[in-house]
Symmetry: C2
Subunit: 307 residues, 2 copies
């Protein structure tokens, strides 16, 4: 096997109460990548379709992640990477993570799987460091593991794959405005009240429990964020209306995807997720903001081979 | 059935990362109570063996909890309660919660179970309000549900019963010093750093995941408290030594039970829990502080009928 064509998924990080620790993978939203073994050592980004992104290996998130992997193995050959970017950068659904994770996952396959998934997370995090200044794992982890993931700790890196109920669907709307991750981080407070923190970890516990017991009501009750959403939602026009309409249309819960501006809702079953997406669309149509909309099952598999 | 003799368990609240939300029930440490249906309406505390506690219904935690239950049902008869207190008040293993929970659980049985377990938690919380000034649920919930419980939310009250691995044992040492719950609360900070709060909810997520997947290593890795323990452990002599020796003896993790002064450790299997208890004992023997020591399976059943 000398080349692989893969689907690498968009991801929702934070997931309401799980700021900086939880993430989930989408099933029908993502990039396609082709990774080839070539005689020339090192990593070459040969082509990027769909977005104007740097081809220089050191300036490209997939390139940087790929180099992080190669730094830990003796490799007598090199890799060429072609990316068909369907996820818009800056949308808040893990565009950079999809590229970073996809590159290292495919390389690991082509190398005969010398690395475990947590190693791949570690390499892909270097792409995130280039993209956002912070080597966070909450998007690359679900892209690589599939389903829901928990980044329990960074030092040492400890990523846990969480059971994901089979009828869980996401509706995601991306209003065409720009929220930079760095800006979204800057407005956060350094300190939070212990009272709110307790409510938040109560909800993290409830959400994880609901995922294992496939208790959709409990998942819904737990999808509350007392700490980040009240601050960041100010950056997203009509956030409150989208949330309210989503819940009214049957969503279990609704929150900011990553650092925004995309908004996600989780629902039980595809039919409800489609209704929720319709309700979300109407809000932005009423206020006259363009949007992309996605409905997707939560992807239990992560990255998939296409050829 | 006109009377019930029950075992009502001691409990460990907080459980390291789960401050104010997590709790677990012990299996061989607890009180015995006898609850009788009698013609005279209301609640009478007839006898308390083992401790000098008030017999006046309104001043006794079991009495107050019992009255909270009776306030929600038309009852043509009354109840007499006798308590054989084996759990020392102020030890940090849910002494008041055992009495409150035991009273309402037995009354509900004698009444033909008109109330669900979450209702019983609500009534028993009134006993906690009398004991500590705060109607907390993190001890009464595990006493009533058994195993591990999560108090996800107070408004509305939402208590989740969490899967509890069968080989989980607790070693608990109670140094004979006094730490008042009110004092232990007062020294806590109102605000915490977002950074520490994120680590804490990562650990709550990891612990809940570990309990469902019966991954003892993950349970151990998650039993870290970045927020409360560094402050409260100052009130408990030789806490750091007890923790260090417990881990060295094979414990998965070790922390403050409730608001202390008891210290708990969790282990996989009884043999390790016994070794851990021996290591804990030695620390207090070396510093010359008297102690009580318990080794108990985590109790999956909660309150048990003895007659």
């Amino acid at each position: 096997m000398d080349q692989l064509k893969i689907f690498t998924p968009a991801t929702i990080a934070n997931v309401s109460c799980g700021f900086d620790v939880l993430g989930l993978a989408l099933d029908t939203v993502g990039d396609e990548m082709t990774i080839k073994k070539v005689a020339k050592k090192g990593v070459t980004i040969t082509k990027i379709i769909g977005q104007n992104l740097p081809l220089e290996t050191h300036k490209n998130v997939a390139g940087v992640a790929a180099l992080a992997l190669l730094a830990e193995i003796d490799c007598e050959f090199g890799f060429e990477i072609e990316i068909n970017k369907c996820i818009k950068p800056g949308s808040g659904i893990g565009s950079s993570a999809a590229s970073s994770a996809g590159a290292v996952w495919a390389m690991n396959e082509l190398l005969g799987k010398p690395f475990g998934v947590t190693d791949l997370v570690r390499f892909a995090m270097e792409g995130e460091r280039l993209a956002t200044g912070v080597a966070h794992a909450d998007n690359v982890a679900p892209a690589l593991f599939g389903g829901f993931t928990l980044v329990r700790s960074y030092e040492p890196l400890d990523v846990i794959s969480i059971n994901t109920p089979s009828e869980l669907y996401a509706s995601v709307i991306h209003p065409q405005i720009e929220v930079k991750t760095a800006d979204a981080r800057e407005i956060l407070k350094t300190n939070v009240s212990l009272k709110d923190a307790i409510k938040q970890w109560g909800n993290v516990g409830g959400l994880i429990s609901g995922l294992y017991t496939e208790d959709y009501d409990l998942i819904g009750r737990s999808l509350e964020d007392y700490i980040i959403e009240p601050i960041r939602s100010i950056l997203i026009p009509a956030f409150d209306a989208v949330k309210q309409k989503s819940i009214a249309a049957g969503a279990l819960g609704c929150g900011i995807s990553g650092s925004g501006p995309s908004i996600f809702a989780l629902s039980k079953g595809e039919a409800t997720a489609v209704k929720v997406a319709e309700a979300m669309k109407k809000v932005y149509e009423n206020v006259g903001i363009d949007y992309d909309i996605h409905v997707s099952k939560v992807n239990n598999q992560g990255i998939k081979i296409l050829n």
